[in-house]
């Protein structure tokens, strides 16, 4: 009998201990979620408010690459970045926004214009697409900026005569923005130049295009036609040798992120190179005439082509690489048979190659309403 009572007592102790533990656990579980509370509109300087974490929702380009680069994203930061991207308030005369020249329906390039425009008129560069810039390093055709934040600042400064103090003061007067800055970056919610570009950078990193027919084919959701298949073989073998620079490497960005001279213009010596590109940034004559290798995704939307938009059609681009390469002392080693003008593809090979390139068009990317102008 005594034994039985002892056993009963012992189980009672165990049960109560478990209850206390569960109770404590319950309390811990009820701890306010710092992502939601405290209220970002209060002015508590000790706030630990960090915004709602955002995870990228784009499909993986293939079954091989599943992880996106680590980035600090918040839903609120992206929302603010989208507004700032589309709001002409950032330009000196409040007439141009980032979205004025980087249009989603053209994969964030500029609607077929040869040159990008600034407040003083046309520049000498074609507006680059902003697609997949989450994976890019060294931005601009000449690679002069190391991050998206620095690049968007540079673009605003150069093209829209951005003035930080003026922009901050204009935004401060807009009552709709103040709470958005608080929600994106916490209290005290001051509007700073740094926060403007961090928010724009967050939004730009969401511009991920990985849902083309080619991507779908890698996921088993699309079958390449015979012509597309033949074009892929030309693209990814020595036949056309496109893949060395427009590499399918990590994350299938179709650029190796390098700076190369692609034999567009001839020059007897490096001193004769007129458009010096990367050379202006590094100061090295070896880099004269070298430019960033662009991605070949979404080509149907990003015409015209090349850093100066000199080719209007893909046929012209393929004809150039096939037949009209021009020698200069530092052309990329991968420009083959330069002394014969190129690899001389047949008409059939050229059309197959273009058929393949078009499988990299991503219709869902260019029509994605997550990127559209929120003021319309």
């Amino acid at each position: 009998m005594k034994l039985k009572i002892e056993k009963l007592l012992s189980s009672l102790v165990k049960v109560s201990l478990a209850t206390v533990l569960l109770f404590l656990l319950g309390i811990a579980g009820c701890k306010p979620d710092k992502n939601i509370e405290p209220d970002p509109n209060s002015n508590d300087p000790d706030s630990l408010y960090v915004g709602t974490p955002y995870s990228l929702q784009r499909p993986s380009p293939s079954n091989r690459f599943r992880r996106f680069p680590d980035s600090t994203f918040t839903v609120e930061g992206i929302r603010l970045g989208r507004m700032l991207f589309w709001d002409p308030i950032v330009s000196a005369d409040s007439t141009l926004s980032c979205g004025s020249c980087h249009k989603p329906e053209f994969a964030f390039s500029d609607e077929g214009k040869q040159f990008s425009m600034n407040l003083s008129g046309p520049t000498k560069r074609n507006t680059p697409s902003l697609q997949n810039s989450i994976w890019m390093r060294q931005l601009f055709w000449d690679g002069r900026q190391p991050s998206l934040e620095a690049a968007s600042h540079d673009a605003l400064l150069d093209e829209q005569h951005f003035n930080a103090a003026q922009a901050v003061s204009k935004i401060e007067k807009r009552t709709d923005y103040v709470p958005l800055f608080k929600k994106a970056f916490g209290r005290p919610g001051t509007i700073t130049e740094d926060k403007i570009f961090r928010a724009i950078g967050m939004f730009m990193r969401t511009m991920i295009s990985t849902n083309s027919n080619y991507d779908k084919s890698l996921r088993g959701l699309y079958t390449l036609s015979d012509a597309e298949q033949r074009g892929l073989a030309i693209f990814s073998t020595e036949k056309g040798d496109c893949f060395h620079c427009h590499t399918d490497g990590p994350y299938l960005t179709f650029t190796n992120n390098e700076f190369l001279n692609n034999a567009l213009d001839s020059a007897a010596t490096l001193a004769d190179v007129k458009d010096i590109g990367l050379g202006k940034v590094t100061g090295s004559t070896d880099d004269y005439g070298k430019f960033k290798v662009p991605s070949v995704r979404n080509l149907s939307y990003t015409y015209p082509y090349m850093r100066d938009g000199r080719f209007e059609t893909l046929e012209q681009v393929v004809n150039f690489y096939s037949d009209s390469l021009r020698y200069s002392p530092n052309i990329s080693p991968n420009m083959k048979k330069i002394n014969q003008g190129g690899l001389h593809l047949t008409a059939q090979e050229k059309s197959d190659l273009i058929a393949f390139l078009k499988t990299l068009d991503d219709a869902s990317f260019v029509s994605d309403t997550a990127f559209s102008n929120p003021f319309k």
Binding site: W135, E238, T247
Partner: protein, 248 residues
């Protein structure tokens, strides 16, 4: 209880003896040099090979794996799993290894390229500090990692135009090479150095399987197994490359 006590005593003694037997260790600096005629390779400068062809190398990177030293009793000390030496980035050309036992070693072992297991990991499976990181430009989806990437141009017809290719992108598990070099190495307390010297000219001309850079088919490869000439050049280059190392 008695048993437990004796176990504790034994463990304590074991612990103490393990501490007292601590080996003396030293630092070892690994250098990865590339030479042409006993001079350090300078990218983009003009070289004349033994067949009087002029060439320039613009990019030159390669992976070495499982670098280890072999002691006189045949036990091995692993120095590093993987390095990517890049002649555009001086910091990749030296590596300091800590805690090398102070003793005599008789051999150096290493792999040229990546082991099958290393080759199988995706750039997004490795840390940013890993040499296989996303921006290494050493990965193609269909090939996996490029073990050796040498890119340049040559002038093989005396035209003074560097308009011929010199491109060797070598990879694939079958072309992984392991190298063992007899080398008497006394690691002393303090700093020690070991140099992996690669003679560029030996890659092309070793008297056994020369690579003729004036022959278009031998002037480039990207290790394409569907193109026998292309793959043959890769096989030849991989073989010559692994034999072009000396340890100093």
């Amino acid at each position: 209880m008695k048993n437990l006590l004796s176990l504790a005593v034994m463990l304590t003694i074991f612990g103490i003896s393990a501490c007292s037997k601590k080996e003396k260790t030293a630092d070892l600096t690994l250098n990865f040099t590339a030479k042409f005629n006993n001079q350090n390779l300078v990218l983009k400068s003009e070289y004349i090979d033994s067949a009087s062809y002029k060439y320039k190398i613009e990019k030159f990177k390669y992976f070495l794996s499982n670098i280890a030293l072999v002691k006189d009793d045949n036990t091995e000390v692993k120095l590093t799993d993987l390095v990517c030496v890049d002649y555009e980035t001086p910091s990749t050309q030296t590596l300091v290894i800590k805690n090398i036992p102070v003793t005599h070693f008789k051999k150096v072992k290493f792999g040229v390229g990546l082991t099958a297991a290393q080759n199988n990991m995706l750039p997004d499976d490795v840390a940013d500090s890993d040499p296989r990181h996303l921006y290494s430009s050493m990965y193609w989806g269909w090939l996996k990692y490029i073990f050796v990437r040498m890119e340049g141009r040559s002038d093989v017809d005396g035209s003074d135009k560097f308009d011929n290719l010199l491109i060797y992108d070598v990879g694939s598990d079958e072309l992984y090479k392991t190298v063992e070099v007899l080398k008497s190495l006394n690691i002393a307390e303090g700093n020690n150095t070991l140099t992996f010297r690669l003679d560029i000219d030996k890659i092309f001309r070793n008297g056994i399987s020369d690579i003729d850079i004036s022959n278009y088919e031998e002037s480039y490869t990207h290790s394409d197994k569907t193109n026998s000439k292309n793959y043959d050049t890769a096989i030849k280059f991989a073989e010559n490359f692994s034999k072009a190392f000396t340890i100093e």
